[in-house]
Subunit: 297 residues, 2 copies
């Protein structure tokens, strides 16, 4: 939208820390950009950038301005979306920040389902860890978040919460695969393939292991859940993941077994939005669909 143009320029400058770089990003010359910034500052009544050697940086006033911009922009697009909705168009764009575990099965299925009913709606999916996901909401960069074991929960409004028990991922020919449920110490005895420390699954495991006086010493530690799933096919090892990210492949070479609740307490997969915010129609409806689907999980 045109009336936000100056703010968009400000945001670009803030992001790149340099007027010239921002000017290039936004397809105009540094001089024009410079004048717009200075024009805004004059009109606003106070500088919003601190001029530092090598570039510029937002000052506190600028931070406030930028926050105002992001709020306004998001509210405006909400209005736009609601208007489109009441004219029966069912258009819109949904921005989601989610944990990795939702990528292989849950989200693609849900998005496809939604788009089957509303082909005019488009999606942006950002993969974020639990801390970043909340940041995404707070800066109005995403509309809804779907994360496992979020951390702060400030300004985070829970729309749906579903407990997820940590599961072990192992080869189906592994002796342990014969069991219905595994105990944690059984898993700790085997070589393990674990997600990075920033993930909720790892956190739950470490906590539970410490309670047993043991510790997790993975032979492979990674940020990629996909790598975990595939690695256990190549070496006898145990991976960990929550069930929503798991689905038995057709060839039957992998098995998933829950770890006993006596050892590892279930974590929460949480669907949420920024507290107090009114979402655009498409996002709100999609969030409702997600909530219903999670409820059935």
């Amino acid at each position: 939208m045109k009336h936000f143009q100056t703010f968009a320029l400000i945001e670009a400058v803030a992001r790149s820390g340099s007027m010239r770089k921002a000017a290039e990003d936004m397809n105009l010359t540094a001089s024009a950009l410079n004048r717009r910034i200075r024009g805004f500052e004059a009109e606003f009544g106070s500088p919003i950038f601190e001029r530092i050697p090598g570039g510029v940086r937002l000052n506190p006033a600028g931070e406030m301005v930028l926050h105002h911009y992001r709020m306004s922009k998001s509210d405006f697009s909400r209005v736009q979306s609601q208007v489109a909705d009441l004219s029966g168009e069912r258009r819109g764009h949904v921005r989601i920040a989610c944990s990795q575990a939702l990528l292989p099965y849950f989200l693609p299925e849900q998005i496809a389902k939604y788009r089957a009913e509303h082909p005019g709606v488009t999606f942006t999916v950002k993969v974020r860890d639990r801390a970043q996901a909340e940041q995404e909401l707070a800066s109005y960069a995403s509309d809804i978040a779907l994360v496992f074991e979020p951390v702060y929960l400030v300004d985070f409004e829970v729309l749906e919460l579903v407990p997820q028990q940590v599961h072990a991922i192992l080869r189906s020919d592994d002796p342990l695969a014969a069991r219905k449920e595994l105990r944690l110490w059984e898993c700790l005895d085997a070589p393990s393939v674990a997600p990075d420390a920033k993930y909720g699954v790892r956190h739950l495991l470490e906590f539970a292991a410490r309670r047993l006086g043991r510790s997790l010493s993975p032979i492979l530690e990674t940020e990629s859940f996909e790598l975990i799933r595939h690695y256990v096919l190549h070496e006898r090892a145990i991976g960990f993941q929550i069930p929503i990210g798991l689905q038995a492949p057709l060839d039957g070479r992998l098995a998933f077994r829950p770890i006993s609740k006596k050892d590892v307490s279930p974590g929460s997969l949480i669907l949420g939005q920024l507290r107090g915010r009114t979402l655009p129609v498409a996002s709100a409806r999609f969030a409702m669909q997600l909530a219903a689907a999670l409820h059935r999980e």
Copy 2:
């Protein structure tokens, strides 16, 4: 602010119901205005005005756009005010909607007191009845409201509440003036001068009279509290008012006596703002001063 210009034009058109009139108000030609409106509608994706014979009218989409604008504008000026504040300037503008009773003594004193400390702050005072005052807040036309016995209280956040007993206004030579406190039936026997039905004082009196099986039959009914105060000097009659709007004139010709709480229950004088809104610095500080002053009443 320049980036709100198009919205300001939209607001002007909505207010006057005509592009040509609005164009004149905003000092540009109808053609330019027309193009800006159409340009906005195109960019927005939907018409916001309904073209009717004789002019235009906002459609529901337009209502939403206008509401977004008023919110954004108010938030932007809050940011501006906070920035000015943190640079130590103490500038700003406070917009108040209040009941008539506050005009003679309370508000002028409070405003003068505030301006003595912060000469850079200016004020707008709108006199509104209790229903209109809440409307003022909801449309972001005023920052704070100070009203007697507000009606709806939806989206109205109470900052301070002070009970006010209805007082009778009479000539000091009236026999009843000898009493410390009056009973309602005494007042009903005398000719009365009452505020209009939309005011809280009248409402409380009617309610109390009905409880006694009596009714108020004023010889003079008016919207002007000032007229009430002055009329009782000319004919033996009883006026009604809350004490915050009363202060004995120097010549001692008027007397004010509370009506017994046994007959008329006290009403509430309420200071409030729009629920959930963050006020500009000056308004917030002035509201705090008002709250403190009311607390002492």
